[in-house]
Symmetry: C2
Subunit: 366 residues, 2 copies
């Protein structure tokens, strides 16, 4: 028992978790399959009722002509940008410096499609209309990520998106939505998925972020884009003979959790407010605009903060932080995304844990 407790272990062992929907294990698949008849036929290379019905459902939900299911967003978004690039005959596209395609995909967009991204705005703020106005006219596509995950899930004013959309239409720049967390932002905007999607020429949504599925993505747009995206899906090696394990689980968890997005959003605001009561803890955004936010601890490195948080988690049985990321030398941060588990954390225990964390962080900072 003299081993120092790690952040990960105490997070996993705690009785209550503030974030997520529970462990990513085989039960996630088993639960999704419970109501599925064993003689449901597989999709076959993108065809068949299992896949086509789900594609139709999403196309209708987002008000787009067509939808194509993909194994991953990485594949879907590279392909969307490639299609817009081919249509305009320009390899120039634009996105935020912390765009998933720029930092998490081993430069697939450049290595496989030879597209040349222009990085708009900077790492610390959102893309604004003024940034977009500086783009050269030959840009084929602008990608907006809503919310901007890597800066805590910030969102522009809805009016700003409308202006960017109108500007792009006027200039013949296709506007693509990285909507990995589209469903998560609808309560804040008070808009439907169809209303938000109407501002974009193509949209990608994910089924394993707030929705909590196993994997899978959908690309939506006009019928030509859908048709071309299927050709590229085959080229990428994503046109599997059977995608049904992802399709069936995506649909199951979409139906289950779409109605809970407003609740997650309210809970994220509640949890962020509790953290912000502590003098040495700040959330970004200060008031969340979706189910997610980043937690920033200043004055302590990740190495120094981890055992403190671990001790609080072990003592209170409330899991707050699963991992820490270094921010410079004397600050660290983590990401929190609210899911099913938050509501079962007793409020008094939660307050006690966060107060204890604040106190111990103060003690450590001297």
């Amino acid at each position: 028992m003299n081993q120092p407790l790690t952040l990960g272990d105490t997070f996993k062992q705690a009785e209550y978790r503030t974030a997520g929907n529970g462990p990513r294990d085989v039960n996630v698949l088993l639960e999704a399959l419970q109501g599925v008849s064993g003689d449901t036929p597989s999709d076959m290379y993108g065809r068949g009722e299992t896949i086509e019905k789900f594609e139709r459902k999403l196309a209708d939900m987002l008000g787009k002509e067509s939808a194509v299911f993909f194994p991953s967003g990485t594949m879907a978004q590279q392909i969307a940008l490639r299609i817009w690039s081919d249509r305009k005959g320009s390899q120039s596209v634009a996105y935020h410096p912390l765009c998933h395609l720029e930092i998490h995909e081993q430069d697939g967009l450049k290595e496989l499609h030879h597209l040349e991204p222009i990085l708009l705005a900077d790492e610390d703020r959102l893309i604004a209309l003024d940034d977009v106005k500086k783009l050269p006219e030959n840009v084929a596509c602008l990608l907006l990520e809503l919310p901007q995950r890597e800066i805590g899930g910030e969102l522009p004013d809805y009016a700003e998106i409308e202006k960017i959309s109108a500007y792009c239409r006027e200039k013949g720049i296709a506007l693509h939505l990285d909507g990995a967390r589209l469903f998560e932002i609808l309560p804040y905007y008070g808009k439907t998925a169809e209303q938000v999607s109407a501002l974009f020429d193509s949209v990608y949504v994910s089924f394993y972020k707030g929705i909590g599925g196993i994997a899978g993505a959908m690309l939506l747009g006009d019928a030509d884009l859908a048709q071309q995206s299927k050709v590229w899906k085959r080229r990428h090696g994503g046109d599997l003979i059977s995608l049904y394990p992802y399709i069936l689980s995506s649909e199951y968890y979409l139906d289950l959790r779409l109605p809970k997005m407003a609740q997650y959003y309210e809970e994220a605001k509640e949890l962020a407010a509790l953290y912000n009561e502590q003098p040495n803890i700040r959330t970004r955004p200060e008031v969340p605009v979706s189910n997610m936010f980043h937690l920033h601890l200043s004055g302590l490195s990740a190495e120094a903060a981890a055992p403190i948080i671990a001790s609080v988690q072990a003592q209170t049985g409330v899991a707050l932080v699963a991992y820490l990321k270094e921010i410079g030398d004397t600050a660290c941060a983590t990401e929190i995304a609210i899911g099913d588990l938050y509501e079962s954390v007793p409020k008094e225990k939660l307050r006690e844990a966060i107060r204890l964390l604040g106190r111990r962080l103060s003690d450590a900072q001297g």
Copy 2:
């Protein structure tokens, strides 16, 4: 009841099936998950015990340093060829004109990787050492497909592969095995997977051909190739957060059906012999060398042959042919791959069905 019976319907409705392992439906997944504990953790972006154990198992089985699980063979093989191309600094690769990469992948190899394939041999025969000797020295990689699926699953003599392998090593041409059906050919060669793989620098195997899984592939080779292939897997959009539905089912069906490959091979020879007794039916190869062969009907178009076969299937309750492919104007063919179902077809019923088919085809040909 006056609707003409279709080939597909009578194939599906027949009591007995000569080919395959049964319908591709959700039961395939449910069966594979029966023995899996619900708290088995997901793989996470290519890491974790679920994926690493299976990769190690295949690497050991094939005697290769490393193995990487892929969602598809399309992705795995393009990437293998790209890595060999980068190592040699040459975009030139070589394969058969009916190679999967040439005819089934929407030219992904060319469109995404800009490789330039040289087509060896011709559509009607296998690649021989003499073809390989004509290759220019700058060829980075030669892909051999064993068995050559699109010509009925033919195989070269084992000694010919050994000679090609020795020649390629001498010339510094990487030899890659399209082993989508590697396990299916081992009984004919009387070799282990490790012995065959030793002749190749990299190997791809599939888990949904003879193995009958849901989807999934493995790429095997040296540790550098494995490491680089993971970078390209991320770029292609195949590095999913969770591939476990494919991994767990691939392992389950590999364990289940690997020991049955010799039986399928014997059954394929038995079934082909029954067909070849009919004057108007020929198999290719005449004597199968794996669990598969093609069935050729001469003197009749697919349109003319289909209702004849459908009537035989409806009358006898034995499913022989699921679909027909036109070969010129007056011949047609289909592919047959033996799986679990063949052994449950009563032999007398099978002989009766094939004799009836021969007779009706003769009547139709006049």
